[in-house]
């Protein structure tokens, strides 16, 4: 975009500002100097074909001042060599065919090389600009991650006191004796918990993009992961009917169970957020190419356009942005966490208002745990 703008505002070599005129003047001066030089040298040695020497000012003009001055330099060079050096000298007449060929060749070579030089130069400039932009982007990204990381830590310290204090308050006999106060204490506790979740999201996101995730792989019971994700915040799910269906013979998955739990929590959180209170959320485990956990809701669903943009960081559906809170990080975090765990994420929806089904695929490597050698005890 930047490069395009640059090209429109300043087409290579044809800039007409003061520096442009200066370029044309300097190109003329260079041709003049070359002509004088050749004339001086001609007194001592016969230079024969002078065309090659005139390439010097043409290339200098192309390199330093752009295409326009280079064209001017090649034109004047042709004229100057015809006038000064091809017999009859001091006349524009040319007698021999070979001299015409000579001058034509010179003109072609001068035009082609100046064009090449100019385009190479502009490519180099563009590449340099792109590198600079990329560096600046990386720097600002890095700064942002560092900021998110430190702000989150700073927020967590007072939050630990707030959350702790509200849990003491909400169970203190004096408060419980007064139902209105107890309700307030619960509000404070629940909101502190929610704030903690939001901070955790930011921390998770900054972990993904800054230090990188170092997964700790182990054989994990899928039911344990589901339960841990559901337990993490019961308050959030209190308004929904959660159904869990896991077959008893589901294989163990080889993943980082903590990262998969975070991913699953994000998915369940989204399902709760984008479906009406009381609507059911189904979590089903299946065998088949590893373990597949599907989370289905009967909520807002997704239009094809929204589905396409779902993986973007900070993307939030326009229809629902006004009625829900969130940072738009959830799906992005979930898919990053699953990816480093060797799994993957698929999102499907029949369309707007038809609910969403998210499938988390967890790997079960072939060298699975065989119970044969340890079953006897």
């Amino acid at each position: 975009m930047q490069a395009l703008k640059q090209a429109i505002l300043h087409p290579a070599g044809f800039s007409l500002g003061p520096s442009g005129f200066k370029g044309y003047a300097l190109a003329l001066a260079a041709v003049g100097a070359t002509t004088a030089g050749i004339a001086a040298l001609n007194h001592f040695v016969d230079l024969g074909h002078v065309g090659a020497i005139y390439l010097v000012p043409v290339l200098i003009a192309a390199m330093r001042w752009g295409l326009g001055p280079a064209l001017l330099a090649s034109g004047t060079s042709t004229v100057a060599s015809a006038f000064f050096f091809y017999p009859p000298t001091y006349s524009f007449q040319i007698q021999k065919w070979e001299q015409i060929v000579d001058l034509t060749l010179f003109t072609i070579v001068a035009l082609v090389t100046s064009h090449l030089v100019v385009s190479i130069k502009s490519h180099a400039e563009m590449a340099e600009r792109a590198t600079n932009e990329a560096r600046m982007r990386a720097e600002s990204e890095h700064l942002r991650e560092a900021l998110i990381g430190s702000v989150s830590h700073e927020l967590r310290t007072p939050l630990a006191s707030i959350l702790g204090a509200t849990t003491v308050l909400s169970t203190a006999p004096a408060v419980l004796a007064e139902p209105r106060l107890a309700a307030l204490a619960h509000v404070a506790r629940d909101e502190a918990e929610r704030l903690d979740n939001d901070i955790q999201n930011l921390l998770d996101a900054s972990r993904i993009s800054s230090e990188g995730l170092r997964p700790r792989f182990e054989w994990a019971e899928p039911a344990d992961i589901v339960n841990a994700a559901l337990d993490r915040h019961r308050t959030r799910l209190a308004g929904h009917a959660v159904e869990v269906e896991l077959p008893a013979d589901l294989p163990l998955a080889y993943v980082d169970p903590v990262l998969v739990r975070q991913a699953l929590w994000q998915i369940i959180d989204n399902a709760a957020k984008y479906s009406p209170a009381g609507a059911s959320i189904r979590i089903v485990g299946r065998r088949g190419d590893g373990v597949a956990l599907t989370v289905s809701d009967r909520g807002a669903g997704l239009s094809p356009a929204e589905q396409a943009r779902l993986g973007e960081r900070f993307f939030r559906g326009g229809r629902t942005a006004a009625i829900t809170t969130g940072s738009g990080l959830g799906i992005w975090i979930a898919s990053a966490f699953l990816r480093v765990s060797g799994g993957s994420l698929e999102v499907a929806s029949e369309g707007e208002g038809c609910g969403t089904t998210v499938t988390l695929r967890l790997p079960v490597p072939p060298r699975g745990p065989e119970s044969g050698d340890l079953a006897h005890d």
Binding site: R156, S161, G164, T167, A220, E221, A223, D256, P257, P369
Partner: protein
Amino acid sequence: MTEHAPVVLVVDDDVQIRRFLRAGFELEGFVVREAADAAAGLRAATLQPLDLVILDLALPDLDGSDVLEQLRAWSAVPVIVLSVRSSEAEKVRLLEAGADDYVVKPFGMAELLARARAALRRHTRGAAGESIVKVDRLQIDFTTRTVLLDDARLTLTPKEYRLLHVLAQHAGNVVTHQHLLQQVWGQPHMQDTHYLRIFVRKLRQKIEADPNRPRILLTELGVGYRLGLTTEAAEKAAV
């Protein structure tokens, strides 16, 4: 619990955290002592008999895990660690260094109290030579090596019993995978967590009403297992 009011030492440099912990513990009948750094904490631990230590890991003068190591050199007092680091590897390291349990900041008072009570109970059980542990509908007798579920005797394989026995010794507190593997299968199998998963699955089929939604044999993801109250049940008990 103990006959006298249990004494808890809170070692944390954050005055606000100490303040709410004092309120929370005092409401539950504890006597609270405070220390703002590791040096003061260790001094307090030598000066008076303590029943419980709540230890923050990020102290200004000494890393919490070093405090734990120094304390464990001469004292078996139950220690619950307060950790801001949500890294599971760190938790495992602390538990192996002698912590009885941990809670991750920010935490609720009910959760901390449940862990603290479990650690205290284990301590007093050991001192009194009690040999029966009850968890939910489950009763484990260490001397007769019998396990009752709702008063009906369960048939367990020796390894299943051993697993339950180790967990019951720490009832209410977390036990790391490594500790369980070492205690049940021995040193060579320390990395074979899948053995553990398969035995836990079998055991849950025998002791849980819904093995997919356990209430007795609970998982601490990435760390180990815990026999006892779910956080939910602990919170209800606290209300």
